[in-house]
Amino acid sequence: MSIDLPDVADTTGQAAAEDRQAAVEPKQPSMVLRRFLENKLAILGLLLFLAMAVFCFLGPLVYHTDQIHTRLSEQTLPPGPGHPLGTDQVGYDELGRLMVGGQTSIEIALGAALVAVVLGVVWGTVAGYFGGVIDSFMMRIVDSVMSIPALFLLMFLATMFRPSVLMLILVLGLLAWLAPARLVRGETLSLRSREYVQAVRVMGGRAPRIIFRHLVPNVLGTIVVNATFQVADAILAIAAISFLGLGIPPPAANWGGMLSDGLNYTYSGFWWLIYPSGIAIIITVLSFNLIGDGLRDAVGLRAHRRL
């Protein structure tokens, strides 16, 4: 096994020097932020997400409903006094359920994206930095796992383990880290030959320090963009497995599960069981996509100007 770039001993003086070297790297967060804020669609995305977050997490503080006890005598009531969005198939208030379901969906989506990004960044930077056999080995693992249909794995795992918020975060995250790993690995291959990385190495910087202190911060722009898409993808994945009846068991709710339940009444005209959750999914996914596009443009512009 060969390692392209062997480490040399680190010293306090060398660390200080490399920190200074890292400090001269052009981060320019203010420029990224300014460019992001200039993007109207990105702002719209941000506002949409904030609105959904407020609706889901602060809404229940204002709009009180019982989302624990079923009321079969009130099942599938149409929108009206007392139930602005009607009731669902077991009598839960649909508006309140939309809030509670949104909490679960957003929590899982953000959690899964975080797991995917952290794992993907570590995997990708290590593979990209060391290169050679290590890179080949690690990326073949990525290729192999990518060849397995994600939905199949989700269904398999969901039948093996009792679905819970934590379990879904881990499962979705462990399935989603592959794309960021590839992305980061490609970026790292480019970054590792930069002068500042060479300088740190010459000064005796060890691999972990180079990776976490110098490489990771410089791929963050790319990763943040990817993370927004990961969130959107996770929301859709939750919807998919809930549609298959393998989501979090009741009385917990999530938008995908609500949509799935509502689809059982497609031909009965109970639109309030379908549209609200469907629209909530669309808005949230759209918001993250817009945010992601905005970030990509902002980060890309930064990179362009750096050149």
Binding site: H69, T70, L72, Q89, V90, L244, P249, D261, Y265, Y267
Partner: protein, 602 residues
Amino acid sequence: MLRLRTLPLVAAATAALVVATACTGQHAKPGPVGTPSEGGTATFAESAGSKPDYIFPMMTPIHQSIANIEQFNRLSYRSLYWIGKDDQPVIDPSLSLAKDAVYSKGDTSVSVTLNDYNWSDGKPVTTRDVEFWINLFRANKSAAAGYIPGEFPDNIKKFTAVNDKTFTLDLTGAYSPQWFNYNELAQIAPIPQHVWDKTSATSAIGNFDRSDTTAKQVYKFLDSQATNTSTYGKNPLWQTVDGPWILSEYRADGYSVFIPNKAYSGPNKPHLDKFIEQPFTSESTELNVIRSGKTIDYGYLPVQEVSQQNTLKNAGYTIAPWKSWGTNFTVLNFNQPTAGPLIKQLYIRQAMQSLVNQQAYVNGPLRGTGSVNAGPVEISNFVTSYDSNMTLPYNPQKATALLTAHGWTVTPNGTTTCASPGTGASQCGAGIAAGTKLQFNLEYSSGVVTLDQEMQAMKSDFSAAGISLNLNQAPFNTVLADAAPCKPGASKCTWQIINWGGGWIYGINPYPSGDQLFQSGAGSNYGGFSNPKSDALISAAVHTADPAALPAVANDLANQVPVLWMPAELYRISAVSNRLAGVNTKQSPILSLTPEDWQITK
């Protein structure tokens, strides 16, 4: 008896809905149009999430389902007596392999003569084939779902083949002829000894079944072949049948294609070229397909979409309710290490039953249909009413009182805990430590909307007495596999409460004496319920023709709560294409199919 995977749809009180018209006889209209023809393909919709996966006609508990027996296995392998004449749970002599059984010596001996049936390879069905089935069952009874200690084959003192067509069974005691016909003889399905009596794919045919040791090997071989579903369409074992259909194709999702047995010697020869069973993952998917075109000839209408009846009628379907002969329940596991000590306490089971709001389930998920079910036997000629002192209707106050009286600190909307451990009358009971929480894991089948709603409602209702249910859904076959009976003290026993959806139909054992489900040690006693008094009452129902014996069993089991009794439901609201002639809309009470009667109209 069979586990029922029901699509709990509009049930007994169908007067309020579409089924009302069906029940008044209008279900048969408009019926098939055109002239019946020979050939063609008819497609039957399997129940959502339920698929056949075991072809050998000797079921293990995990494979015993409607999908496997009544709607798969029985197409190719017929039993001595066919249960179901129109929609009544009685023997239909015209479809039975044997003539009426003759009892003698004070009902301690029975003689059976076979009708003239042949196997698909031209060989006759003989008493040797009956003996083969009995020998395999006897040697492997511990693995068989139909086994009940003390009953078949333990109660067979001697099998005698008088000749190729007649055999006698000398019994260990006197039995009710009705019970013996319905619950013992009707489950015997002759199997081709001249093809299957071997211990491996390459071994020669022998009389291996006549030794217990080699009979186990034969069973092991046949079971291994039956669990290897990828070979179903081409395995020569399954090509020798005495029923009207031969399985020609099988896919992992349960998609099955049957072709006619050209040598079928029964009364109704198949008219179709192919009979297909189509799987579905959900009811809504099935409805989408049935609405979208003509690919499903015999499907169903989910109860939540009952308003679509006219749409389907306009699309050329006849709507017909399908009522099963059975009972509905949720299974409690007496032998699960954690939940078992709780479930073994009668007062806890009675408290739980008092929290099952059956009427609300009927009014809600079942949309004002179905009926409250107090015990193991539906109100019928067998049991005309229940003793109200023995039944446990919805009464949350009673549930709370029962728990409080036995040393529990009841915490509504929380989790009730044991405050007074011990075995005294006012204490929690044996094996229950102080601080034990009254909580259970409840696993149920996914894909059935009404079951999902009932389980959610049950969780909600149970919280009134602080009984916590942790719900978990899984595909039907997974639930079925999980529900395997556990032995007392088994460490690997994980399931606590299970509902596979729809409970049980009294299929191959239509006399509802409860022996297969609730007698100690019975093969289909999934939860491991055991009570000497119940056993004695069941025994009386089995051995005597006393008309009071069966109601006594029903009342006792209603009060003992060996399972949680759930509302009676329809199996389906069938949607039968009007291009299909020959379908009896008075559908089989044990849910079997006779596609050999069907014809495509032109």
